[in-house]
Symmetry: C2
């Protein structure tokens, strides 16, 4: 997922509020991405980690811990750095898997160095993440992170095998989305609550918030791929169509397709036989069946779920920012 | 590393002695490599994990625990399965990095499926490994495994950047070898001792054994690449030369090279400008400076270190098998 956009949104207010903590988190990240023996490791890591990512996931960790009443300590910051390492490792591997050439407006590591470096440095960061989290010694947090890592990899494999398959269901789509985005969001907020010593209701609420936020974000991202403007979403409309991905609007349109429409989808998605005008035809079929509106309503419903989950938590300025963040990720759809 | 060969060696006796435990370990492996959602995961994993690997690393875990006096329990077996998962994950990623087409006499997963599947299934197995080890709840074991995973990835990156670099030192070579082979051997034996509740001397002895065994094995493997017969080592003599790898015999010969010899090494290794007769010339230069004998003596010395480390451990039939294993890995050099 990406979180671009020049407007000053709730994540900027989160960044302001958490600036002190995040300076410490960035220090831990820089320290721990070093390698005594292999300078290629910090080179590749720095290229990605210092390329202006929003550090949303570590901020979610810290926000969750703060809201649950724990003053941020070194363990919280290590956990925040750990989550960013896992995120960075998955980005490095994703770019190899997707053969991407650009990320955050810069050439990808696999392009600047090679696939080998991206695979191995990703592995290193993943190992580092677990090293870091052994230090605070919370088995529950380790369990959450290991589970999230498995869900992420599983979701990516599922996306690989579900690609170009018109039989892909909404349930499969949801699993892919959890792997792609929501699993690490929910791991961040849930583990933040756990490390702060929160009670089971708060932990559950923060898990639900992260999960629903991630799903809302990813559905919105997939919708924008068919409808947003290039400047707002940072990639060109129809990329997913050209890559023959089964995202929610397509799944919805396929579900309602008559025989000639099915033949169209089979040709462009399954066989990849795409011509001038096919994207416009796909958009027309989606419009005909209300696929975009239905998917948009889903995104809004997930955002509402995220916002409502916060009701179980104590009043806190960060709680309001998280609520605004849930609205923000789908506000791009209006 | 590979441990091929048709002769019945100490690892077969280990397999006999540990047959009951290993049946349980294999059951755990099969259970845990399943994925509810992504059938590609067990397909890829099974291709590699059921291809007749010797399961040496899980046997090292179990042997260490047995020698330290602990009857094997479910936690030991989970740890053994975890170590095999980490090993399998690294093999999947190695084959992508090395662009390998064969492993254990069969086409590699990256060839049968694709690089994407190998990267992602490797990630999944790595995450699964940590999930599995959170269950027994030993932070010390988790620490050992996370450290080993970091050392493995670091060693692989180092190998990547040291390749084709004539300035590579023996110290760098040793770090690469620890990453490639010794780190997971020593993690297996050390964590096996820890999970069995062994005292610090036994833990240290088993760490040293695994570390030295792995180094001895890898030096022997690298020597055989220049001197063994194809049937004994499973790959053709000179592969490392053609791939321009800086292994110990080359490092030793380069260290003693005069100016014309240095020009030769620079041409064939750094520039990769290799012609008919160059491998023979390389072998002649190694012979001239006693590089093969020196490396062979190193391998024997590491095997002796491994054997001697066992003296700190209680008498046990498995201890004798481990001692024989140390001799066995270098016996191929005679």
């Amino acid at each position: 997922m990406k979180m671009d956009g020049a407007k000053r949104g709730p994540q900027d207010r989160l960044a302001d509020f958490l600036a002190g903590d995040m300076a410490a988190v960035n220090r831990i990240i820089r320290e721990k991405m070093a390698s005594e023996h292999a300078p290629r490791i910090p080179e590749v890591t720095a290229h990605l980690i210092e390329a202006g990512g929003k550090r949303l996931r570590p901020m979610l960790v810290l926000a969750a811990a703060h809201i649950c009443g724990a003053p941020a300590n070194e363990d919280h910051r290590k956990l925040a750095a750990t989550v960013e390492f896992i995120h960075t490792a998955t980005l490095l591997h994703d770019d190899v898997v997707d053969e991407s050439r650009q990320r955050r407006g810069r050439p990808t590591a696999n392009l600047l160095w090679d696939n080998k470096s991206s695979v191995l440095v990703g592995d290193y960061l993943f190992a580092r993440a677990f090293q870091l989290m052994v230090e605070p010694g919370s088995l529950r947090v380790l369990d959450i992170l290991a589970n999230a890592s498995a869900t992420i990899a599983e979701g990516e494999v599922l996306q690989l095998t579900a690609a170009r398959d018109l039989a892909t269901t909404e349930a499969t789509y949801l699993k892919v989305v959890r792997g792609k985005t929501a699993a690490l969001f929910s791991a961040a907020t849930e583990s933040g609550a756990v490390i702060a010593g929160a009670g089971p209701e708060e932990v559950r609420a923060l898990f639900t918030y992260g999960d629903a936020l991630g799903i809302a974000f990813q559905i919105a991202d997939d919708l924008l791929d068919y409808g947003g403007t290039s400047s707002a979403i940072g990639k060109n409309t129809g990329d997913d169509f050209r890559e023959r991905k089964l995202t929610l609007p397509v799944i919805r349109a396929v579900a309602k397709a008559d025989a000639p429409e099915r033949a169209f989808w089979s040709r462009v998605i399954e066989k990849g036989d795409q011509h001038e005008g096919d994207l416009e035809q796909a958009l027309a079929l989606m419009a005909r069946h209300g696929a975009m509106e239905a998917a948009q309503n889903d995104a809004f419903a997930w955002a509402a779920t995220a916002r409502e989950a916060l009701a179980a938590l104590p009043d806190h300025p960060l709680r309001e920012m998280l609520a605004d963040l849930a609205d923000y990720v789908v506000s791009r759809l209006n």
